[in-house]
Amino acid sequence: MGAQRWLGVGQAGGAEPEPGARAAGSALRHADAKLLVVFCSASLDLPAVLRQVNERSGGVPLIGCSTSGEIAPSGPDVRSVVVTAFGGDGFSIRTAAAAPASDDLRAAGASVARCLARIEERPYRVLLLLTDGLAGDQREILRGVYRVLGSGVPLVGGCAGDVRMAQTFQLHGDRVLTDSVVAAGIGSDAPLGIGVRHGWRRVGEPMLVTGSGGNRVHTLDGQPALDVYLDRLGAPAAAYTSHEELARLALVHPLGLGRRAGEEEIRFIVGGDFGDRSLACIAEVPQAALVWLMEGDVESVRWAGGAACTDALEALGGRPPLGVLAFECVGRRPVLGEEGIRVEIDEIVKCCGGAPVAGCYTYGEIARRQGVIGFHNQTLVLLSVA
């Protein structure tokens, strides 16, 4: 089954000395590492951690990002470094970075996508993308990628996180970037599976987005979006004027963009404008889109973890996974609660048969198997590696 491949995951707490070196040391199980994927808490000294990792690895190609929390086989964490190493001759890897991305998001996407054209031909390929979710409409990045790669290459990844949604960082080689897109083109002799699940359910009839601009939805079905949203929910009067009340409702009632197959693309509502009665979402809601009011609970959302894992592993055609990369929306944590996210990851690990899981909490998730675009919110995206 092709040349040898391996995948190692290492984690080190931010309080430990040289956490980068320790995490890298654990991940680098063999000498022939091809790619390191680093998820590092935004609260740590990123340049120092990156230096430690590179010193330990001797300059193995690297991409990574800052996080709003890290996922490791031991469970979720919030002040740690998680390093995943892809190794063995069964992998071909190229990495790329484009910064600043916000000048031309499409061009940035197209630029990093071209790294895949230069890797050794392998039967299975994926483009792993880590982006700055604060740089603008992420779908533009993905359009740029799609223009270059077409539908033949699955996309997976997420938007870097931080502590208070102010500035996120992307890592490439020995550089700490912001407002950028970093990518690793991965070619493999064995399948690479993607699982995408959120566990939210549609409520009622779809609404037509009659007025939107960027991340803000002005009108739904021709009416002020905030009022339509609250009316549909039958919200208490306080929610019409109180940010707290609105936030409490929004946490469990995102919007869902309709798709022809699979689950909806979720748009988490981060707030409303009580003046112009508009809704602010975590990502762009295109005009003329059909959106559903979504609902969910701990059970349904946690169920998504298992479902995504099953989807991802099915794509491996029965081969045991070497490991799984997880990109989970930071917005799922308040829904699931601290215990909930721990259980969710335990289930993923269990589902993988003990293969290591590494990942991070993100400000947006990327997964495209079918169709075009593939940008998600409030979603769990898994990449299984056989």
Binding site: A110, R114, A117, R143, Y146, R147, V148, L149, G150, S151, G152, V153, P154, E205, P206, M207, L208, T210, D221, G258, R259, R260, A261, P286, Q287, A288, L290, Q370, G371, V372, I373
Partner: protein, 726 residues
């Protein structure tokens, strides 16, 4: 799911808005396939027309399968390979535009497009057609407009070019007119100054300069230039550098660069303020930029034209335009130089010839000194010429001077050879000296204390002895030199002044050594003549006191014997008588010889008395006219007597003359003797007659002897003697 009723319309409106926002047909086609793909979530969408793929999405960049797409679009196949998903059902929708175009849509998965989606697809295809058509029109129109704009731009460019050409022609005409004016002027061969002034003005006006300035280098290897022409625009506040001002160019980055590198140069407003004297002067005139262009005359750097402009940069082609004028200047200078050189050489030669003639004529040195002093004073800008003799006690004697008299120096006065003056320098170095500016404590010439003057001096060397010096000075130039350009003042001496003075000095040396030689010769002749005269006088005295007296005594004794002689034999008295007669004859002859040796009669009776005796005894009848009162000096009387004596002897021996005239007269300074006969002529000093001895004798006495003796016209001897010894 049931979509709201307005969904397709809304979707279409969004599609329309998105697609029509593209600027070009190609962008709109690419945008349309992308939006269609997103609208129906289809991985592959392509627009195919007449066998080519106009736009496609879903394939790797640049790798759309044209044949497969064309085949599907043409209805030959119903399925299309979706990359990463395999063969999938394809929908084909016709586009009205481009003609015959089809939109091919394929999406993975088992679900075919819904009726809503197909309807939407048709609508979007229609929108796409309309948009592409519109954009094609717009593209065409844009292309037309672009072409039209291009043509207008070209026309405008042509117009501008024509205008430029027109302006260029006008400019050229102006330039040609200016050049012609200068050329005409040059052809008329006016003074160089006029040409320079004309060019300075023409260049200034033509190039709209604020100031033009022409500077002339002072010679090969020089670092100094003299302002020779200038022009300023009336609106320029500053003044040009005063003509004649000398400007050092060592530190100059404008004219200095031209001198050092033999090329034109320019300076902008930022460079002028610290660009050396000329640049700073231009800056000081309130101007912003400048150029400097070389003037080469006969391949050698002659000078520089500096032009200044109010603008911060000079006109782009200023240097090349100035070059045309510089060429005319060069031609004019070259002509003028050739003429001036000829004139100067002629003047110089004439001056030298005048002095040389005097020298050759053996004119007295004091005359030559005076003449040299005068010739020196004719050199341009020279105010005073001096001939000075260095004395053994380190003083100098002024032996000749000429000039305007600014220097209160008398001929014959003595001055100490001290200080740093021109004469003192020549005295110290034995070499020629050229001082551009002499100032400070006065040397031997008591100039005004503040006066500044230039001077040159050349040594007079006789053999290996420094005899003295010939010097020249300019008139005093009062007041400080112009300070603005750090220059030395105008009115200096020509660069070759010392050379010219040196030639005069050489002539003086020759004159002095000739005079010395002549004096020595005269003295030597006089000594020879005196010794001969002395010997003659001794012989005459010996004859007179010895032989003559004894002959007289013998004659007297014989007379006594004659009276006592007996009658018999009868022949005895007669014989004694014959002996007495013979003795008397011998005595007479001895007397005559004695008189020829040294005419005692001359010593005793003077020239007139002695000449009368000679005339009386002349074999050819002689007329004597003596207009001399009293006695003349013996050194004149003796040779004068011999001239007449020898002349009469020659007349008797060779002239076959019937008469001879003797004229003697004496003026204040000169005694003149002329002996003229009416004989056959043809006498020649060189032909061994006694004439050669006469020449020696006359010249030994400081006199002159000439003879005129054309054959058949008699002979005329002429001797003159100076009365006072030289």
């Amino acid at each position: 799911m049931s979509a709201p009723a307005g969904w397709p319309a809304q979707k279409l409106a969004e599609f329309l808005a998105a697609v029509s926002s593209f600027a070009t047909e190609a962008e709109a086609a690419a945008g349309a396939v992308e939006r269609v793909a997103e609208s129906v979530d289809a991985e592959v969408v392509a627009i195919v027309s007449r066998g080519t793929v106009i736009a496609a999405i879903g394939y790797p960049e640049g790798a759309a399968p044209v044949a497969e797409l064309v085949s599907v679009a043409g209805g030959d196949r119903a399925e299309l390979t979706v990359p990463g998903a395999g063969s999938s059902p394809a929908a084909v929708v016709a586009l009205e535009n481009p003609p015959g175009a089809r939109m091919v849509v394929a999406r993975s998965g088992p679900d075919p497009l819904s009726a809503d989606e197909v309807g939407l697809l048709h609508a979007m295809a229609r929108v796409t057609s309309m948009t592409l058509r519109m954009l094609r029109f717009l593209d065409d129109e844009r292309a037309l407009r672009k072409e039209s704009q291009r043509q207008s731009a070209e026309n405008a460019h042509l117009l501008a070019t024509l205008t430029d050409h027109q302006m260029l022609l006008e400019r050229l005409a102006d330039e040609q007119a200016a050049l012609r004016r200068v050329a005409t002027l040059v052809a008329r061969q006016p003074g160089t100054e006029r040409v320079l002034a004309s060019v300075a003005e023409e260049v200034g006006r033509l190039l709209r300069a604020g100031l033009t300035q022409m500077l002339r280098y002072e010679g090969t290897g020089t670092t100094t230039a003299t302002a020779v022409a200038c022009w300023t625009d009336p609106e320029v506040t500053g003044r040009a550098i005063v003509l004649g001002t000398r400007v050092p160019l060592e530190r100059d980055e404008l004219a200095g660069v031209v001198l050092r590198e033999q090329r034109a140069t320019r300076m902008n407003s930022g460079e002028l303020p610290a660009g050396g004297p000329i640049a700073e002067h231009v800056h000081g005139c309130g101007l912003g930029s400048a150029t400097a262009s070389p003037i080469d005359v006969e391949g050698r750097p002659w000078g520089v034209v500096v032009a200044g402009w109010p603008a911060p940069e000079p006109p782009a082609d200023a240097e090349s335009r100035i070059a045309e004028f510089a060429w005319l200047v060069a031609m004019s200078i070259s002509n003028a130089q050739a003429r001036a050189e000829v004139v100067r050489l002629a003047d110089e030669q004439a001056a030298l010839r005048r002095v040389a003639t005097l020298v050759a004529k053996g004119e007295r040195p004091d005359v030559i000194f005076r003449c040299v002093a005068e010739e020196i004073a004719r050199i341009s800008n020279v105010d005073n010429g001096f001939v000075l003799r260095f004395e053994p006690d380190a003083t100098l004697t002024v032996v000749a001077r000429s000039g305007s008299g600014h220097a209160p120096v008398e001929v014959g006065s003595d001055w100490p050879l001290r200080g740093d003056g021109i004469a003192a320098r020549v005295f110290r170095t034995g070499r020629a000296v050229h001082l551009d500016s002499r100032r400070g404590p006065p040397g031997w010439i008591a100039m005004a204390p503040d006066a500044d003057f230039a001077g040159v001096g050349a040594p007079i060397v006789i053999g290996d002895r420094l005899w003295g010096a010939a010097t020249a000075t300019t008139g005093p130039r009062n007041g400080p030199p112009p300070a603005d350009v750090g220059a030395t003042p105008a009115g200096g001496l020509p660069a070759d002044a010392e050379e010219r003075i040196a030639k005069f000095a050489d002539l003086i040396a020759i004159a002095i050594s000739n005079a010395d030689a002549r004096a020595q010769l005269t003295a030597s002749r006089a000594r020879v003549v005196a010794a001969a005269d002395d010997a003659r006088r001794r012989l005459e005295r010996n004859l007179h006191d010895g032989v003559q007296q004894r002959l007289v005594a013998l004659t007297l004794a014989l007379r006594e014997v004659e009276s006592m002689v007996p009658p018999e034999p009868r022949e005895l008295p007669a014989a004694i008588g014959r002996v007495v007669d013979g003795l008397t004859g011998v005595l007479s002859e001895v007397r005559e010889i004695s008189r020829g040796l040294h005419p005692a009669i001359l010593s005793e009776g003077g020239l007139a008395y002695a000449l009368r005796s000679l005339a009386r005894r002349s074999a050819v009848p002689a007329t004597l006219n003596v207009r001399v009162a009293g006695r003349l000096p013996e050194r004149v009387e003796v040779p004068a007597y011999y001239v007449v004596s020898e002349a009469l002897t020659n007349v008797a021996k060779h002239a076959e003359a019937s008469m001879v005239e003797i004229d003697v007269d004496a003026t204040n300074e000169l005694v003149r003797i002329v002996v003229r006969d009416d004989g056959v002529g043809g006498a020649d000093v060189g032909r061994g007659s006694g004439l050669i001895g006469l020449v020696d004798r006359v010249e030994a006495a400081g006199g002159e002897f000439t003879i005129s003796s054309p054959p058949g016209e008699g002979t005329s001897l002429r001797a003159t003697f100076p009365l006072s010894p030289r």
